[in-house]
């Protein structure tokens, strides 16, 4: 047996409701990948016996290893063990040793064991029992032909302990797959399709490395993975990253866990600069992203969220004439806001955002999504950028904060065309 791929099945009607998602699979995926086993599908199914049996059969058909969580409890709707036994045509055999542990476990808590718990001592014929140090339900590892099934409790703390302490060591003996290493590169200020076109050749040059491109609210992520010895995998990832950087250059703002606000913060700190904002359509969410970073008080002085025009005049000194002639959503207003924010907070860099987040307020020449960004630096730099952000109000706002942060980033990197930022 050598599982290079696995399915994960989460059992429980509560996972088919409107409030809960299966998060056990995130832990299991990471643990399996460390064993060189990649997860090719995940499913959730209810407690109904026939449906459960059918899902287990499907999963075994799709990958040689199946990890099931949930349905090992003492109640009538805990049927996972029964479904596996029925599918493999195996008996359930009462294990007196397990029964003794159960009785003892309850006795220690000063409770007489309820009769329903007895069935937790019934073992699938030929299965390896996985002890449960934190709960009453034992788990199982069952081998059938060229398939392996691991049954774990649904309670996260029990599931984690049992997998690490009992299941992983057994799987490690037989798993042959090399370990998987992952990396993510992040791009701001570009459309997904534009990135896609630039990186097509890189895909082609590195076949079979699961390169995935994800658009995440004004940010594009390039996910790629490699398997092999840790050293070999890292080497491949470095080569792929190098090729992405060749075509994307400075458009790549970060890697893995790095965030745009974190990267901009590091640049401000490194260059001894301070930032102040005048925000309109983003309504404080740009300052919110910047201050999500702990320690941001080192370089961020504050923001004037000038939602009303009176505030644009009163707090950052935009001239009423500018608002009358060009409107609050204009290059002129944005430039005065940037200068005013810099002045009001005494920062080295003033950044301004004004636009139409929608759904209302759009006009033919200024449709919803129209945004003006302006940046003024004490060194005399004055930048402006206009764009039309895509999507609904929430996306326009998020997209705009990313574009604004990216404008600061490109400015600090000293790139001439920060306008494109």
């Amino acid at each position: 047996m050598s599982e290079r791929t696995a399915s994960i099945l989460a059992v429980g009607s509560e996972l088919l409701g409107t409030t809960r998602v299966d998060t056990n699979s995130l832990f299991l995926t990471e643990e399996l990948e460390a064993l060189g086993i990649s997860v090719v599908r995940k499913a959730c199914v209810g407690d109904a016996f026939e449906g459960l049996k059918a899902e287990i059969a499907v999963a075994l058909d799709r990958a040689p290893l199946l990890v099931v969580t949930g349905g090992l409890g003492p109640t009538d709707d805990d049927r996972t063990k029964e479904a596996v036994a029925a599918l493999l045509d195996r008996a359930l055999v009462r294990d007196e040793k397990i029964l003794g542990h159960l009785v003892e476990r309850f006795r220690r808590r000063g409770i007489e064991m309820p009769r329903v718990n007895e069935k937790q001592a019934d073992v699938i014929e030929g299965a390896v029992v996985l002890p449960n140090p934190r709960g009453s339900a034992p788990g199982y590892l069952v081998e059938a032909r060229d398939r392996t099934i691991v049954l774990l409790p649904g309670v996260p703390s029990e599931m984690r302990a049992m997998f690490r302490e009992a299941a992983a060591p057994l799987l490690a003996r037989t798993a042959r797959g090399p370990a998987v290493r992952r990396r993510v590169l992040k791009v701001a200020g570009m459309a997904e399709s534009a990135v896609e076109q630039l990186v097509q050749p890189v895909y082609a040059a590195h076949p079979g490395h699961e390169v995935t491109i994800l658009a995440a609210q004004g940010e594009i992520q390039l996910h790629f993975a490699s398997r092999g010895t840790p050293e070999a995998a890292a080497g491949v990832l470095d080569r792929i990253e190098g090729d992405f950087r060749k075509v994307l250059g400075n458009e790549i703002f970060g890697r893995d866990e790095e965030t745009l606000e974190g990267v901009v913060g590091e640049l401000l700190r490194a260059r001894g600069q301070t930032l102040a904002l005048a925000e309109s359509c983003t309504g404080g969410t740009l300052a919110g992203r910047i201050t999500d970073v702990s320690g941001s008080s080192d370089y961020f002085l504050g923001a004037a969220v000038t939602y009303a025009n009176s505030a644009k005049v009163g707090l950052v000194g935009v001239s009423p004439e500018t608002l009358d002639r060009f409107g609050a959503v204009s290059e002129e207003a944005a430039r005065e806001m940037a200068a005013g924010a810099r002045r009001a907070f005494g920062a080295t860099i003033g950044l301004a955002v004004t636009g139409i987040a929608g759904p209302g307020g759009g006009t033919p020449d200024k449709p919803v999504g129209t945004v003006h960004l302006a940046l003024e630096n004490g060194d005399g730099t004055r930048l402006h950028r206009r764009f039309i952000a895509p999507g609904d109000r929430a996306l326009v706002r998020r997209w705009t904060t990313s574009a604004a942060l990216n404008m600061v980033r490109l400015h600090l990197l000293g790139r001439a065309d920060a306008r494109r930022g």
Copy 2:
């Protein structure tokens, strides 16, 4: 065709990684249940064509309705449409009308459409096209024999709009079975355990209605459901809601889709009041929540995000002596910030937040999470509240914005003990 049961399939390799779970299925489950359709299984699969095709076949075998999210984008690894077409042995036909819409959509944003987007105009033969008001990828409803397949984008905002506006009406024509109605009541400013104690008797009085309590970042949600004819179910929900309101009263700020920021906004509008903020530890996220509500410019004038002490003095006139004597995180500073915000923006209500979000900056007498809220109203009302918010930096900030909004809500409801808000 009459679907009483459905499968949900989420497509995308990122959903098989270690960081993301499919949450679209929670929304879809609720929408399907409202149509009398119950979800019997959910699955996630990667982008690989053969695996995707196999999962679709399996899902159609398990339930007569399949809703698929993701894989409709323009990139090479968006293959959902192709997999369905191959499985049903149908052609993909270029639709010039859709192509026109796509080109126009890009033109409006001042971008020439990348060639890769053209494939988004290819339609599965015989499918109903579901328009995408918020993105470029159209969706599809395909009927094959006694099966129905609905294809939706993976981007939540696009998926939601498309399902509600285009897919649900088509499914409603044919769906049968008793509908499940759900309701959510929302409480702010209370600990989960305190809510739990108050509502225990209500649980007991209404057995078998799946009452669930969820704590969500400074907000407690009471979820409950009933099954039957829309009228009967609604009647039951009304009775349960009535009982919850008897024990919780004004602590309940909203229902179902209502948000705290939306409710506060309606109160401000109804009372003809305007709001201005001085935020420190929340760093703009309070203004951000308020302006998430479209139309908030009717009552929200703006915020001074006074992250640096110099900004507290310069923008909202906190006296340097106050900062020296009591510190920036103090009742005195909060009260001066509230008054200053009101004055600076010319609002009827000034609200101030100052605190220690952490992880650094805590002291024995002012531990991380210490927050002072202050509110000043032109009518002479002056409120102050101090609390210690739980959790890490992100939770402290979120929790604080909820407490601040709730303070305004209780003040506008004219409750004497708004201090508790």
